[in-house]
Amino acid sequence: MRVYGHKLPAMSSLLIWALLWEIVGRTGATFFIPPLSEVFVTLFKIIGTPAFLAALSETAQAFLAGVFFSIAIGIPVGILMGKSRLLDELLLPWVNIFVSAPLTALVPVLMVLFGFGMTSIVITTTLFGIWIIILNTRAGVRQINRSLVEMAISFGATPMDAFVKIYFWAALPEILGGVRIGVIRAVKGVIIGQLLISIVGFGALFELYATNFLMSHFWAVLIVLFALAFSISEFLAFLERKVAYYAAKR
């Protein structure tokens, strides 16, 4: 955006919202919203503490494991569904149900099946992330130009060659789009897991701060989480732009 001929950096509008937050906080209208400046002071105060770092590492481990499984299972399953009519017919209804289902309701079942530990949290995270990755990968594979596949086969490609050298790359723009949304959903999954299954990591911090009405602490942790999720999402959007040069020309 330009104001009086000066180009504003991206997301300058956030400053306006930050100012509004500060003003509302200063009026003391509600304990729920402390001034933003106070939140940031708290943020820098807690960010180096052992409790915060422990929470960060616990959350990161569960999150990364969940994202890893979502991608490592989601992409091959999506490619296979896009290639095989039979698998597609078998799995698509389930994928469609799970992608739109209120997965939070499943968490108690997971607790019964997998216990109250890390396993259940990782599975919850995976369940939040995986479905959209499968759907996008499948969509990417289905729009592949048939003659690219024929070309590879005519030059002697094995099924594995076709998988790695054609299907994956041809579907990569859609796959990255799916991974980006899947990762954002996985952030939700890991926090919901940590709140519902076992009170650990950031979930534990949220619980602690909210029940003790430590609102500036609460907001500080939330801001950290938003910033992390946003950075990951932007990084994936950056990767998507790197393949955009051929996305429109397939």
């Binding site: 003659s147 005519s154 030059f155 002697g156 490609a157 020309k249």
Partner: protein
């Protein structure tokens, strides 16, 4: 070239050296008969066109020869061996070029060799040679979307040449490029047939193009698909490429083919 053509015209068919033989091939798509008991011979070192109206099964036949489609019955013999699938003795040039949009010209041209497990330095050296041969020197590191349609098909051609297959299968390779580029391609193709010792099978729907480039033209007719006629132009090719299009024999053959095809054009 003309002397060999003449020799083939005179020779008894069984004495011919055929690179590819199609014997009694049938192919159905459900209830539709795409090919019915088709037999054809493709003399070595020559260019044979498959010409016919749409729906006559010419692309189907080409894909069966390539091993991309299975025939319901009959067999394809390439260099004395029956075809069971794609093989290194045949290379395909696609109507829509079929280039990898995420790969440079160099990698695209080398892709056939890459799939055959040729080492990177070796296949790139070979690819560079053929990129030069098709007139794309300097574009090695460009991407397909940066090239014109004609240049893209040159990449497709270089890829097919670089695997050094004895038989080149071309599926309407010039139909997606503009008229002037197409003419240049046709001239280049004649040079290619003369210089490379390869057998070309060329699918086209353009009568003029078929007569211009072919040593032998197989006219296919649809419903049910069959070989209607095989034409071997005899002597105008020796008079130089600039004179082909006004040679009386060229014009006669074009007219003759049109006369037999016109009833099948809806």
């Amino acid at each position: 070239m003309s002397q060999t053509s003449q020799a083939f015209v005179d020779a008894h068919p069984s004495a011919q050296d055929n690179a590819v033989t199609v014997r009694g091939v049938s192919k159905n798509y459900g209830a539709v008969e795409a090919l019915k008991n088709m037999s054809l011979e493709f003399p070595r070192g020559q260019l044979t066109s498959l010409l016919g109206p749409s729906g006559c099964g010419k692309t189907t036949l080409l894909k069966i020869i390539a091993g991309l489609l299975k025939a319901d019955s009959g067999e394809i013999i390439v260099n004395g061996k029956a075809v069971t699938g794609p093989g290194p003795n045949r290379a395909f040039v696609f109507q829509d070029f079929a280039l990898l949009p995420w790969a440079s010209v160099l990698r695209n041209v080398a892709f056939g060799l890459e799939l055959r497990g040729v080492a990177k330095s070796e296949r790139e050296a070979k690819a560079e040679k053929y990129i030069k041969d098709v007139g794309l020197a300097g574009f090695e590191h460009s991407f397909p979307h940066e090239l014109s349609g004609g240049m893209r098909q040159r990449v497709g051609l270089a890829r097919a040449l670089s695997v050094d297959a004895q038989v080149l299968l071309l599926d309407e390779p010039f139909s997606a490029v503009d008229e002037q580029t197409r003419r240049k391609f046709q001239e280049d193709l004649l040079a290619l047939v003369a210089n490379e010792n390869k057998t070309f099978i060329f699918v086209t729907h353009s009568i003029e193009e078929a007569v211009y480039v072919s040593d032998q033209i197989a006219i296919l007719l649809p419903r049910p698909s069959r070989v209607h006629e095989i034409i071997r132009p005899s002597n105008f090719r020796a008079k130089g490429i600039d004179n082909i299009r006004r040679d009386p024999e060229y014009l006669d053959i074009v007219d003759e083919i049109w006369a037999s095809l016109r009833n099948y054009v809806e």
